[in-house]
Symmetry: C2
Subunit: 336 residues, 2 copies
């Protein structure tokens, strides 16, 4: 059973609960404060956003080649990237570390370097570390990070509602941040979670009812896998223009090494940690403002397609030909 | 470096932050809502309580002898026991599972049983599962649970402030719930987190300024280790009456097997998941009410000693003789 199928099974086994505004299946869960009755905050409070994520030796990094600092930074930044995927602000992180008794990842110096890297990755977003757990065992290093996020600006501000995967509407323009593909060459360890960009977009375009930022998620498993997730959550289809995909130079480099098309790397590689979003066409001018003069400067925002009312997902070539969606994707393949 | 020393080092490396009301070192962290400025909730809101905790094969259970359901239930209940240790209500849990590719803990049926046990353990406290992460690797099974807790009753209610380890005062009476020792014979898998008892005590005695429940924690590593933690956090000493320790029949059974005194098992074994508390002597009548007519019925609350202004910790024998505090304790010893 693949991870996707298992998560779908879990979702089906998880009943609705009055506390839960958004359950398993989005970038983060959203818990209503005050037991779901709104006592502690009243109407319109977005609630507390929560996420848990693992980062494992020989899966997400390889301690034969990567340092404690690289592993710790990646573990925290993966979780913070999910905060970006909801357009929330990380309010706190917790880190649980299972340390090997012997071999790669053992020893006090390693543990200290790892902790400091986790702390500093969170601090880069003014996010405190409020909980930790360490244990030693005969298995490999596992780092599990949990993040709590909040929506800034209280109840009234523009961009105060978290942005779900489920809000895309037919006619929306699909944008992706940055450039995609080839992150295995190193970016999977050094990426910057797009929190500032997500907040800038939320504030400029607006979120929730009447907002222009309809749907948002982080691209962690590759566009080939993540685009179908956004479409499924929203009950829509999509046309993506293959020629418009922003291809990272790393994807070109990797293509030069393995002979695969760079565009396929951009679609399927995963671990981009960029943002995928569906935007109301009327809000595109505000998006361009963020891209050219705001937090998107130096990152880039590229229109890659259009949301359709149905008909599944299609890749459209430069002559207008429709192609089936590639099935390739990254699902916990070893970090090479 | 032992776990205690590493956590002390981590605490020293973690700077204060306006969002953090209670940082690493108590049963849970406490995060102020609204970025620490109180915008989202105003004065008196206790904040969001957070905890992360790991539960590992061959450390906390042994899949050669224990089932997926036992491991999953224990993993969640350990985290919920920390909620009891703050007298909060669990509002949401998240579960990250690292599944072995082969051997004990592998396979789809195991993963499903594990998930259902986690879900049901939380549901027993009306607590929803709002996030999950699964991965497969070549290491053993690791289950990491993060819990979010809330204080019920809004800002005005009695018992609305979380109960920290740091509130014990000289003259307080020390109580422990249930009976201690020998949990390795099976209770470490089947214990009930004392959430209802903790809430009943918080509401009957009051918490925070003017409340009678001064300090609280869950006893997870054994009284021998956990009592010094409560005293250190509060800057106090304690006299514990050795003859008053509530010894579990399992501690007697274990004593019969290994020849150690049952009282030493009660002090040092760990994994009791009972509550240790420091109570204002004036609030003892309310505590007795909870013990005899409330959530403490069938659990028991035993006065085991007194908080002192200083002088460290002492075990007092039945003739009044003072003995040094036993150093023994449970620190991630393998589940036998």
């Amino acid at each position: 059973m693949r991870e996707n199928d298992f998560l779908a099974w879990i979702t089906a086994q998880t009943p609705a609960h009055p506390r839960v505004a958004v359950g398993i299946g989005d970038d983060m869960g959203v818990v209503r404060p005050g037991g779901g009755a709104g006592e502690a905050g009243g109407e319109g409070v977005a609630g507390v956003l929560l996420k848990i994520d693992q980062c494992l030796d020989r899966v997400h990094y390889d301690l034969r080649r990567h340092s404690a600092a690289e592993a710790g930074r990646k573990a925290v930044n993966r979780c913070l990237s999910d905060c970006a995927g909801m357009a929330c602000v990380p309010a706190a992180v917790m880190v649980a570390v299972t340390l090997p008794r012997n071999g790669e990842g053992s020893g006090e110096a390693f543990a200290k370097d790892l902790f400091l890297a986790c702390r500093d990755a969170a601090a880069a977003f003014d996010c405190p570390l409020v909980g930790g757990d360490t244990a030693t065992w005969d298995g490999p290093l596992a780092i599990t990070v949990a993040a709590m996020g909040e929506m800034p600006g209280g109840t009234g501000g523009k961009g105060a509602a978290p942005v779900l995967r489920s809000g895309a509407r037919a006619g929306d323009t699909l944008f992706v941040s940055g450039r995609l593909g080839g992150s295995i060459l190193g970016r999977h360890l050094t990426f910057e979670p797009r929190i500032r960009l997500a907040r800038a977009l939320a504030e400029a375009l607006g979120t929730g009812d009447g907002g222009g930022l309809h749907a948002l998620m982080d691209v962690s498993d590759g566009l080939a896998q993540d685009m179908p997730r956004l479409c499924a959550a929203s009950g829509v289809g999509a046309e993506v223009y293959a020629g418009r995909l922003p291809i990272h130079p790393d994807a070109e480099r990797l293509a030069g090494q393995d002979g695969m098309p760079a565009g396929l790397h951009a679609l399927a590689d995963g671990e981009d940690y960029e943002l995928l979003m569906a935007v109301d066409p009327e809000a595109v001018p505000e998006l361009i403002g963020v891209a050219e003069h705001g937090a998107g400067r130096g990152v880039g925002l590229t229109a890659i397609g259009t949301v359709t009312a149905g008909g599944g997902l299609a890749l459209v070539d430069e002559r207008g030909g429709r192609h089936g969606w590639p099935r390739a994707g990254w699902e916990h393949r070893s970090a090479g």
